[in-house]
């Protein structure tokens, strides 16, 4: 029988939520690593029992955890992230140069076909790879050495590499996104990188159309259409039909085009989801209403999905890695809030139910569909 495993990272630990394919009844395990910030937990597509977690703390630094039994037990693996060569500088918030300094891992992206290979997106922004199950990490320095690095600057949450998308049809092509530098793409497995930000327009930077410097919050891809990318930028929801070569806005009738997550329906590559947030100075949903917006036309035309979601006095945020979909039919959609609610929709967003209501603030949500 099919099933679903939802991997939740929170400000105070990790949780694993499991259900059968009906997605009616849930078993909740955790907190794993209680008291630690869990920026991300993700499973290996090649071995669903292999999970990786980024465990971090302002006091004790970075730990990477690995599980071989679907999260029942964990073991700490390698946590040595050292930039190649002389790290150089990027811009600090005040525009002064600041040396690159490793702070934490925001996102872990296991390989599609090797459970021991995975990528880590880190702050200060760079991309690392492990080929020994997280035991050791090597930087892919071509990204940080692209040449524009001295002009990158941190977003409000830090200068983080937060999104890693490996083209499912070509593992040498990888898209990454950095706040606040933008999208970069490699076509040679990480040796060289090109910025992919043409068409982005950001008022918060000196040159609104600059090649780099855009605060991209999240990008998403559908496996069947690897040249089509969707983006939630700081402001603006965007789309590219040429693998990032150019972008155009698809915010359309959204009540607000600021937000963090964006994701694509598992079976409908033109169906996308965002969660509008009121503004960059008020990180909560507009009008006290928690609404997921769905477009079935690849953007521009959006409908509010509200059934089962609070429609008054709600002031939560949903962070960039805190939404995910399963691959069952109908597609399940999941997101977690800063208030600790984990909402699930077993019908592609038509209706929602909280799996749990009172977790610590949710940092990340990933879903494994179990056959």
């Amino acid at each position: 029988m099919s099933g679903v495993r939802v991997l939740v990272g929170t400000r105070k630990g990790a949780f694993v939520l499991t259900s059968d394919g009906t997605r009616d009844e849930w078993d909740v395990s955790g907190p794993h690593f209680p008291g630690w910030e869990i920026y991300h937990v993700k499973g290996s597509p090649a071995d669903p029992n292999r999970l990786y977690a980024s465990q971090t703390s302002g006091w004790f630094g970075q730990v990477i955890q690995r599980s071989n039994d679907a999260g029942k037990t964990w073991e700490p693996v390698g946590n040595k992230f050292v930039y190649e060569g002389v790290p150089g500088t990027h811009q600090w918030y005040d525009g002064t140069p600041r040396p690159w300094e490793f702070k934490r891992v925001w996102h872990l992206e296991p390989s599609a076909n090797d459970p021991d290979t995975l990528y880590a997106g880190v702050e200060d922004a760079s991309l690392f790879r492990s080929t020994d199950g997280g035991g050791s990490w090597q930087e892919l320095p071509g990204l940080r050495g692209h040449g524009s690095g001295p002009n990158w600057q941190p977003g409000a949450g830090g200068m983080c590499l937060h999104t890693i998308l490996v083209d499912p049809t070509n593992p040498d092509r990888i898209f990454i996104a950095i706040s606040a530098a933008g999208v970069f793409r490699t076509d040679d497995a990480g040796k060289t990188w090109q910025p992919m930000n043409r068409g982005l327009h950001s008022q918060g930077i000196p040159d609104p159309d600059a090649e780099v410097g855009h605060c991209v919050h999240r990008i998403a891809i559908h496996p069947s259409r690897p040249n089509v990318l969707f983006m939630q930028k700081h402001w603006d929801v965007m789309r590219s039909d040429d693998a990032g070569g150019s972008w155009h806005e698809i915010s359309g009738n959204l009540p607000c085009d600021f937000g963090f997550p964006i994701d694509v329906h598992a079976h409908e590559p033109e169906t996308i989801y965002v969660i509008p947030i009121k503004s960059d100075s008020e990180h909560f949903v507009p009008e006290g209403k928690l609404r997921v917006y769905r477009s079935r036309t690849g953007g521009n035309e959006w409908e509010a999905l509200t059934k089962g979601l609070p429609q008054n006095d709600c002031y939560v945020n949903v962070l960039r890695d805190a939404m995910a979909v399963d691959t069952l039919d109908p597609c399940g959609v999941y997101f977690g809030t800063s208030g600790g609610q984990l909402y699930a929709s077993p019908d592609a967003g038509n209706s929602w139910t909280p799996i749990v209501r009172d977790l610590p603030g949710v940092l990340s949500v990933e879903v494994q569909t179990l056959k």
Binding site: T56, W59, K80, G158
Partner: protein, 102 residues
């Protein structure tokens, strides 16, 4: 034997209960104690001091005999009572700090 008291989070990470007792070669310095600690418990590497520079993490403190030893040289001798195992070296997370920006 030198006795080391770890904070709760690091005891869990190292899967130890109570104090840690370490055989440390002379001279008994902070560096020697941390070298022995990380050798016995490799999962603690990077959690108390930087893995490359060996600088103490900003919000980690070392206390012993009701004194703050955090700013002592890592190569300075530990107090005799600590070196003899009569008193523990206490590693703690600073009372304030450690907040991330996400």
């Amino acid at each position: 034997m030198i006795r080391v008291v770890l904070p709760t989070h690091l005891r869990r990470l190292a899967q130890v209960a109570g104090e840690v007792q370490l055989e440390v070669q002379d001279p008994a310095t902070q560096r020697a104690v941390l070298d022995a600690l990380e050798s016995r418990y490799p999962m603690l590497r990077g959690t108390i001091r930087d893995q490359v520079t060996h600088q103490r993490r900003a919000f980690i403190r070392f206390f012993a005999l009701e004194q703050d030893l955090s700013h002592e040289s890592p190569d300075g001798l530990l107090p005799e009572a600590v070196a003899k195992g009569e008193e523990p070296l206490v590693v703690i997370g600073a009372m304030a700090g450690g907040r991330s920006g996400r």
